[in-house]
């Protein structure tokens, strides 16, 4: 049994970790966005946010299935999504913080989908062919998410005094978490060296070049960088994560082994 698993499992721990981070980002943001369904400011946004959540859940299914195969453990998408302990989730912390209001959800979608567009553009070239195929599909979706959220960031920032203040507050809240995206780490170095995907730190300049003009058009002040650090992608999450998982894992934990 052990020998079989070793044979199947030719992927490195860093490769598995990298794919798991991608899957968990999609999973956890998809979970947060799905909370909006039926509660958005206008019906059109109920549809749009549900649609984005649906894309992200779809990406999570492909990525977590792939991660399960790479690790050779036989874990399927649902075992990956619902049956890990909190420390084994590898999403960045920004994905798990509460929606708070439409402003924060929109700014988060904008900051993250910009990153996703850049990342998927690079991963289309991945030496991991399955990952490259997922990237090609996800890139189209991320471009739509970016268009949608960037338009709203501008509308809200450059709308009324109230909407400007709320959106600015959202940006102040979220901005420190974006540092986590680009924090250097051994996983990224190994994956980059193996040609599987870029170290996320390589994307920082391009990300700022895309993000800053939109924030400027939205008349929003870009917060200064602070010493704040978050560590979700290394498995150390915020207090919000446990509550999100308690809800998301409820059925799988209550009825172990059942199929749905």
């Amino acid at each position: 049994m052990a020998a079989d698993m070793t044979q199947q499992n030719t992927a490195t721990a860093e490769h598995i970790e990298y794919v798991t981070r991608l899957g968990d980002n999609a999973l956890i943001l998809g979970q947060r966005l799905s909370e909006w369904c039926g509660h958005a400011p206008v019906i059109e946004e109920d549809l749009a946010l549900a649609n984005i959540a649906l894309d992200l859940v779809g990406q999570a299914r492909l990525l977590l299935t792939h991660a399960g195969k790479l690790e050779g453990s036989g874990r399927d998408e649902d075992q990956m999504a619902f049956l890990r302990v909190e420390r084994d989730y590898r999403n960045i912390t920004m994905m798990e913080v509460p929606n708070e209001d439409f402003g924060r959800s929109t700014v988060r979608n904008f900051l993250f989908s910009t990153f996703q567009v850049l990342l998927w553009e690079r991963l289309v070239q991945s030496s991991d062919r399955e990952l490259a195929a997922i990237a090609a599909k996800s890139l189209k979706e991320a471009r739509y998410h970016l268009n949608h959220s960037a338009e709203w960031v501008i509308r809200l920032g450059d709308g009324t005094a109230v909407s400007h203040d709320k959106t600015q507050a959202a940006l102040y809240y979220l901005w420190p978490y974006t540092a986590e995206l680009f924090a250097a780490n051994p996983t990224d170095e190994a994956v980059s060296a193996a040609g599987i995907g870029p170290a996320w730190s390589e994307l920082e300049a391009a990300w700022e070049a895309m993000v800053l003009p939109v924030l400027a058009e939205a008349t929003l002040v870009v917060p200064a960088r602070t010493p704040f650090k978050s560590y979700g992608k290394f498995g150390r999450h915020s207090e919000h994560m446990g509550h999100l998982l308690a809800t998301m894992q409820y059925m799988q934990r209550t009825y172990p082994g059942a199929s749905w």
Binding site: S34, G38, H39, I43, D46, A53, L54, R155, S163, M251
Partner: protein, 331 residues
């Protein structure tokens, strides 16, 4: 999803009033008698317009409020596949709401005023959504029974006399059929599972059966809107639709392996239909009247979404005005 055949008066419909004219009326009646469609720009009697505004907007409100009981389970769906299916389904309901509001707008009312009527409690929506979703099997049972009953109600509406409504219903019915199959599939999967899963299905069926057959509305002898049949808005009676639904559902319940909670349910060879127990209409009217388990919560959730979103809608309007002003200045 769901016109229950409510026909409950809402309050006065607003919009342009049209001159009543015997010649126009004769032409209108002839068109309906010939099975033709009335279109938005055609002359129509004021009562016909008001009836349609009431029915289409109640239907639209039902789609929007109907997102809440099912949305209650999106974050707790037991697998990623089921989460995706449910998200897509609830999103479809929102889409139905959107184009039904658009169909109502062709009759000279605005979405905002219809929304206002819903939020103030003046307008009705399908009472079925005032029942709670208590376990995961409720999601399957809503697809199977509630969407199933809605389809029975709505298929005749694809041929109703008002063109924009009839065309909207063609699309809605296609999507609802898909939802019904997905709901039934969810239940089949659970019935193949553990004892606890089968108990969940039976519990859900026990709670949703009577509310589902009440969706067809009061008995024909008690129905207050007889003109809807004359106008080709309602083509099949409440009781006929209900019987058709019961007859179809009994067999599906057998395949599923659950029992329907009605000891009087049995085949009547003489009638060629299933007999079923008398319906407790007090329960129906209590829920319609605002006293169901979830009436208050549903309306509060819609009001909260609308009020919390006010600053977003105002920002969109303000920004659009700024852009228009800038363009004008640049020109």
């Amino acid at each position: 999803m769901y016109t229950q055949s409510l026909s409950v008066p809402d309050g006065e419909a607003k919009g342009p009033r049209k001159v009543e004219n015997p010649e126009y009326l004769a032409e209108f009646n002839a068109k309906i008698d010939a099975g033709g469609f009335i279109e938005a720009k055609d002359w129509m009697p004021e009562a016909y317009r008001k009836t349609l505004v009431r029915q289409i907007s109640q239907h639209a409100h039902s789609e929007i409020v109907g997102m809440l009981p099912e949305g209650n389970w999106i974050t707790r769906a037991p697998s990623l596949k089921r989460k995706a299916i449910l998200l897509a389904k609830v999103q479809d309901e929102g889409g139905h709401g959107l184009y039904l509001y658009a169909a109502a707008e062709t009759l000279g009312v605005s979405r905002d005023e219809l929304t206002e009527a819903l939020l103030s409690g003046k307008a009705k929506y399908s009472s079925i959504f005032n029942y709670p979703t208590l376990n995961w099997a409720d999601i399957g049972v809503i697809g199977w029974l509630v969407d199933g009953a809605a389809i029975m109600n709505q298929i005749p509406l694809c041929k109703c006399s008002y063109g924009p409504y009839a065309r909207a219903m063609v699309r809605v019915c296609k999507e609802e059929s898909f939802h019904q199959r997905q709901g039934y599939d969810l239940l089949l999967q659970m019935m193949k599972g553990t004892e606890e899963q089968r108990e969940m299905v039976q519990d859900a069926v026990n709670r949703w059966w009577l509310p589902s057959i009440m969706m067809f509305g009061p008995h024909d002898r008690d129905s207050i809107h007889t003109e809807t049949a004359r106008w080709g808005i309602k083509r099949i009676s409440n009781d006929d639709l209900r019987q058709k639904f019961v007859d179809a559902t009994v067999k599906q319940a057998e395949v599923l392996g659950i029992s329907l909670p009605d000891p009087e349910l049995k085949w009547n060879a003489e009638r060629g239909h299933y007999d079923f127990a008398a319906i407790d209409w007090d329960e129906f009217w209590n829920v319609v009247g605002g006293h169901g388990q979830c009436n208050v919560d549903r309306l509060a959730a819609r009001n909260k979404a609308w009020n919390d979103g006010a600053w977003v809608r105002e920002a969109a309007t303000a920004h659009a005005e700024k852009m228009a002003a800038r363009e004008k200045q640049a020109a």
